[in-house]
């Protein structure tokens, strides 16, 4: 019987069926952060339970820590960071804490440390855990009660998802990145269009991506509601594993972690790679995007009164006029960072635009490398010099920072941010803050232009 990659991963981790219709699945590896795990540990204590298998967990400080400095910026964030450390010591769990050379954004450091290989099942109290699908691993986000459940049982109660295959076929044009591919997919499938689905990405435009690009795609698949995102393991996956000291000896069986040729998906969508342009979001949902050459929608573009009202609400929050050109949108801030786009490959792309150019007058520009190792590598390559010469602030510490503004990087009411992050929700980067999502190179282009700009105009 032909099976999809998703079904193979679920089958390989199924412990047993439960009487209520759920199944128990085994979690190979579980990652925690300082903000969604405290109540899980207190739940364990209240129930007098131990951690089932402490070596299968890793904790990382990334969400609330300041990135200007290696010390917590206030007492509240210090409490979360200290609490995580105490819980890890108590239960014998590995921790990448502040000052640790391995510290950084969880979904950046896990692949960087060689902790993900095809066929694994990885859970984490963070929605962007879909990132690991880039390696042919089943990764998904869970809530705090489920964090407690994994700690105590090494399993999760699980319902098999429906399957969707998104095929992006055909070469993308120069200037079009993995970020634009996934933003296009989110635009086509819509924000809730993937609810209840595990999505497999396929097609030549996906296969041509390097591992960093594949991670960007799988990372943002959660924005269409997908509970899992997958890309079949192939020679690019194999080369990445072989080249890493921790996984160099791994017996790569890539053929095990692909969908069978005859496998049937519940839904299938095909997108032409050649038709994808660099995109920007104009609204308050990640599916509200247009090509950088286009205009912000107007009410005439919609039929239903509900859609017109939704447009009006988004435009009001964003401080935009219907029909205005994307490139006429002036920015206050440029932010490069997040689990979507803060890897060394992302920094290199942005630096290419910034080389020999200056951030526009009045624009605040910040770059937060995704991990301590990424930062050190970037500095060795001279990228820091490029960013700083252009007028970017280069952050010495890694973390989520202004992606969700849980530390002291909070955009002000009305502040407009060109951002390489994943969510443009109301209030995401600060109360009243206005977020435009785009690729890191597009953020760099906007930073030097002072307004949203087409990366293809920068040679």
């Amino acid at each position: 019987m032909s099976r999809t990659l998703y079904d193979k991963l679920v089958d390989a981790h199924k412990v047993c069926n439960l009487p209520d219709g759920d199944m128990l699945i085994y979690v190979d590896f579980h990652i925690m952060n300082e903000y969604t795990s405290p109540q899980a540990f207190s739940g364990l204590s209240a129930k007098r339970l131990d951690v089932w298998r402490s070596e299968a967990h890793l904790a990382v400080v990334d969400h609330v820590n300041a990135t200007r400095d290696s010390k917590p910026h206030d007492a509240a964030s210090k409490l979360l960071i200290d609490n995580l450390e105490a819980n890890c010591i108590k239960h014998g769990i590995a921790l990448y804490g502040l000052g640790d050379p391995r510290q950084g954004i969880e979904h950046v450091v896990v692949p960087e440390q060689g902790l993900v290989v095809p066929g694994m099942l990885i859970a984490c109290g963070d929605s962007h855990t879909t990132t690991y699908g880039a390696y042919g691993a089943l990764g998904f986000g869970i809530g705090t009660s489920e964090v407690e459940h994994v700690l105590a049982t090494q399993t999760l109660r699980y319902k098999r998802m429906k399957t969707m295959r998104v095929i992006v076929e055909g070469d993308t044009a120069p200037g079009v990145t993995a970020k634009d591919i996934i933003m296009k997919v989110v635009h086509v499938v819509r924000a809730g269009g993937g609810n209840g689905y595990a999505v497999e990405f396929a097609g030549s435009a996906i296969r041509d991506l390097d591992m960093a690009g594949r991670m960007t795609v799988c990372n943002m698949a959660v924005e269409l509601g997908a509970r899992a995102a997958l890309i079949a393991a192939d020679e690019i996956t194999e080369a990445a594993l072989k080249g890493h000291p921790h996984t160099g000896q791994f017996a790569f069986k890539g053929e095990n972690w692909v969908s069978d040729p005859e496998a049937v998906f519940d839904e299938e969508i095909t997108i032409s790679g050649a038709n994808i342009e660099p995109l920007i979001t104009w609204g308050t949902s990640p599916d509200q995007s247009v090509p950088i050459t286009a205009n912000v929608p107007s009410k005439l573009d919609y039929v239903s009164p509900k859609a017109k009202a939704a447009l009006e609400r988004s435009l009001k929050y964003m401080g935009l006029t219907e029909g205005q050109s994307a490139q006429s949108i002036k920015i206050d801030t440029a932010f490069i960072g997040s689990c979507t786009n803060s890897r060394i490959e992302d920094l290199r792309e942005a630096a290419k635009i910034l080389q020999g150019r200056q951030v526009a007058e009045g624009v605040k520009a910040i770059v937060v490398p995704g991990s301590a190792m990424t930062r050190i590598k970037a500095e060795a390559e001279g990228l820091r010099d490029v960013f700083e010469a252009a007028g970017f602030e280069w952050r010495p510490e890694a973390g989520c920072s202004m992606c969700l503004a849980m530390n002291d990087d909070i955009a002000m009411d009305g502040e407009r941010v060109a951002s390489s992050t994943n969510r443009n929700f109301e209030g995401r980067q600060g109360r009243g803050a206005r977020t435009h999502l785009m690729s890191p190179a597009m953020v760099a282009a906007a930073a030097v232009s002072g307004h949203l700009a087409d990366v293809r105009d920068f040679k």
Binding site: S42, V117, G119, S127, I142, E146, A191, G192, N195
Partner: protein, 201 residues
Amino acid sequence: MMKTIKGIAAPLPLANVDTDVIMPKRFLITITREGLADGTLADLRFDNVGQLRPEFILNKAPWTRATILIVGDNFGCGSSREHAVWGLRQLKIDACIGTSFAGIFYDNARKNGLALPIVSPKTRDALLQFSSNARGAKVSINLDNRTITAGEISVVFEMDNATRTSLIRGSDDTLDTLEQAAAIHDFEATLDDSMWVNVIQ
């Protein structure tokens, strides 16, 4: 939890209400589950200086007493933060009726006794209309036979069996799963020595 949830329903028709909106980040810097009622939907309920927004539905009688929300598509999308569900429960919300919910939010709701009945867009729109009645529209959700009753409206809703059972029983999934400890040990015994089993040494 009881088999039937009854209460005044409030219409919240916005689509894609994300967990950043349900529980803004400034309320997340905490190590407990408590004290989240004021943070729930804070930017919709309060203005920049902390005053109630009189025009927001939950700030108007009779919906100040609402225990059921009729919500837009894709409710609870975005971040995995369970704080969003804890906050809704602390705001005395027992159920959100909608057409689709984000997966992590759906699972978080089950763990905290928040019922999320799924209905068709047509039924949802009828319930939005019904709950807009300023005399206070009472809605009844029967988990046992999966029906919603609201005035003239009587419809069957969708909810998977495991979630429905868990809500009715008010069970603790962690403790229940530990009853399967033998099966988990058996599974672990089948894991070979391949690298991914002991990836953290």
